[in-house]
């Protein structure tokens, strides 16, 4: 099992230019430490207009900074929103390539389509067709990275024959993933040979079932890229402390704060009836199930909050479910002081990570 960090970059009010900078600086310091501790990857989302919840509209810039202060950790560019009003596919291909070159071939690419009215309407994009545009984008990107010349005529974008430069550093190209929140999207990932980048916390039984179906389906896939990325990743919270009860309480505060901020946004489902966004697919809704006041004990068991033993137990369960990677949110809106976040990461590296992968980082 591999471990990573996952950043939404939430900034609490009142906003000052220093508070924005502090959040970014703290995240960079955490990534630098994670690299030293043997974490495998760091992901940064693309979000727009999501007040307090996420001030991360340009993840590739943040990840470039991460790459510059680290040696080994991989940088997860995503979720890149594959909707033409947000990003032109040529620009996605180019920015990915530059980040891959600057990082020495450490890029992973996560693709998605946004789940909030707040963002989609902000770019004047229709929620009804985001899945179609995503599909078109993910089929083009590998060819744009690997073909000397590329031309395309599609429903959402077209281009005449040109050389898209530079090419990615990794050969044949970086691993590709799909953000999975709506039930069934993991099957879309499997059919295309893409990794399942789960963004919901969910419960063990539900996740196990979905992962099993993903594994079965990907055996039969027609990959959109040059290779199949048969991996399942999930997101979790992490706060690891010596005292289990205190760490659990502190971590719960962070998780609840995250949940609270997520709930303030307008999901597509709330206000725009569309088959494209089915009822259980809401990121905030599923996060609420897992972390909110109504969360069951069963859901709570899956969270990586508490002492090293409790966290190890939870991760062993996830491993048994078939999860290959777990990416951690380590703070929300600076709820936990930076020194404690770093201490939590160090303790996790010392006490929990050796219990996986035969103790090798």
């Amino acid at each position: 099992m591999k471990f990573g960090l996952f950043y939404e970059l939430s900034v609490p009010r009142p906003w000052t230019r220093e508070s924005e900078r502090t959040v970014y600086d703290n995240a960079l310091e955490q990534v630098k430490l994670a690299d030293e501790l043997g974490f495998d990857q760091v992901w940064a989302v693309e979000h727009h207009f999501l007040e307090e919840y996420s001030h991360c509209p340009a993840p590739e810039l943040f990840l470039t900074a991460c790459a510059m202060v680290t040696r080994r950790i991989r940088v997860g560019f995503g979720i890149v929103v594959c909707v033409p009003e947000f990003n032109h596919p040529i620009k996605i291909a180019e920015r990915t390539a530059v980040l891959d070159i600057l990082s020495g071939g450490r890029v992973e690419v996560g693709t998605g389509r946004s789940a909030t009215w707040t963002e989609l309407a902000g770019f004047n994009a229709s929620p009804d067709v985001t899945k179609k545009s995503w599909d078109e984008f993910v089929r083009c990107l590998p060819r744009m990275w690997t073909s000397e010349k590329f031309e395309f005529e599609g429903e959402f974008w077209s281009m005449p024959r040109r050389t898209i430069l530079p090419k990615v550093y990794q050969r044949p190209h970086p691993p590709m993933w799909v953000a999975v929140t709506s039930p069934g999207t993991e099957l879309d990932a499997a059919d295309r040979g893409l990794g399942s980048l789960g963004l919901t916390f969910g419960q063990f039984a539900e996740q196990e079932k979905r992962i099993a179906e993903y594994r079965r389906r990907i055996q039969l896939c027609e990959p959109v890229g040059e290779f199949v990325n048969d991996q399942v990743s999930t997101v979790n919270f992490l706060y690891c402390g010596e005292d289990d009860a205190i760490a659990l309480k502190t971590g719960r505060q962070m998780a609840n704060h995250f949940n609270y901020l997520a709930a303030q946004l307008i999901s597509v489902r709330e206000t725009y009836p569309s088959k494209s966004y089915p009822s259980l697919g809401l990121l905030p809704q599923l996060r609420r199930q897992a972390t909110g006041p109504d969360a069951s004990e069963q859901a709570g068991e899956g969270l990586c909050l508490g002492g090293p033993e409790r966290i190890t137990r939870a991760l062993k369960r996830w491993e048994a479910c078939g999860v290959d990677r777990v990416n951690f949110l380590v703070n929300t809106a600076e709820t936990i002081p930076q020194a404690e976040v770093l201490a939590s990461l160090r303790l996790f590296g010392k006490e929990v990570m050796p219990a996986f992968n035969g103790g090798k980082s």
Binding site: R13, A121, Y260, I266, R269, P273, K275, P278, S279, R288
Partner: protein, 245 residues
């Protein structure tokens, strides 16, 4: 922490519905027809929202016009303007204003569920290419809206957010959660068109519509339920919620 509402309760003094008690009996309301439009509004609605609630990001309202063909007070129509908000982590629609089509309905809606209902005329009409509603009070049209170019969708594609009313109970202002059930038999969606809206007639003089979001219409069995939760309008709901039953 997200921003909160900034409503000065004194501005509503004397206008709040007075509820008899919180022991409201539920009403079964079969075969209801609901037309709902959502529309973004200009900033500045926080002064309309009780301090217990958070505004949605971005701020928006819903217009809900319902025809109830059967009820204990006979058939009636109800029109509501709701400022969409969050009660903690839960989406809720704070009812700014309401109009009901019969005096009997007005009285009961105010006394039992805290709706700020006034009497008026409400027409809800289905055409081939639209579902339209017109609300009039004192000879003046205060809302004219339509779902344009309806297309059939699944009932599961619709989401009806629970309402919150502000009323006086035992002399004190309380937020009342009204959380009906819906069994949708038929549903459609389409473009939202608001041809006329008089915000002052809905206790929302400051409200300025900006971007239409969506429109939906449904036929469903629903209810007006027993009161389950009330909230202190001046305290964040995490601390100020009381379970009635």
């Amino acid at each position: 922490m997200p921003v909160f509402g900034e409503l000065e309760l004194e501005t509503l003094a004397g206008r709040l519905p007075a509820m008899k008690d919180l022991d409201t009996e539920a009403w079964e309301l079969p075969k209801a027809e609901i037309l709902q439009l959502a529309c973004e509004v200009a900033d500045g609605t926080r002064v309309l929202l009780p301090r217990a609630l958070h505004p949605a990001i971005p701020e928006y309202v819903t217009f809900v016009v319902t025809r109830y063909p059967e009820s204990p007070v006979g058939p009636f129509n109800l029109a509501q303007v709701r400022l969409m908000a969050r009660a903690g982590v839960h989406p809720r629609g704070y009812v700014l204003g309401a109009v009901a089509s019969s005096q009997g309905a007005v009285a009961v809606l105010r006394e039992r569920w805290g709706y700020p209902a006034m009497a008026g005329e409400i027409a809800l009409r289905r055409y081939h290419d639209r579902v339209a509603a017109i609300v009039r009070r004192e000879g003046k049209t205060i809302l004219e809206m339509a779902l344009v170019d309806p297309e059939i969708v699944s009932g599961g594609d619709l989401q009806y957010i629970h309402a919150i009313t502000l009323a006086r109970v035992d002399g004190a202002a309380q937020l009342i959660q009204v959380d009906p059930h819906y069994t949708v038999h038929q549903a459609s969606r389409g473009r939202a068109d608001v041809a006329r809206f008089e915000p002052a007639a809905w206790n929302a003089a400051l409200l300025e519509l900006t971007t239409p979001i969506s429109a939906s219409a449904s036929t469903c069995d629903t209810d007006l339920p027993r009161i389950r939760f009330v909230m202190d309008p001046e305290t964040p709901v995490v601390r100020g919620t009381r379970k009635v039953r």
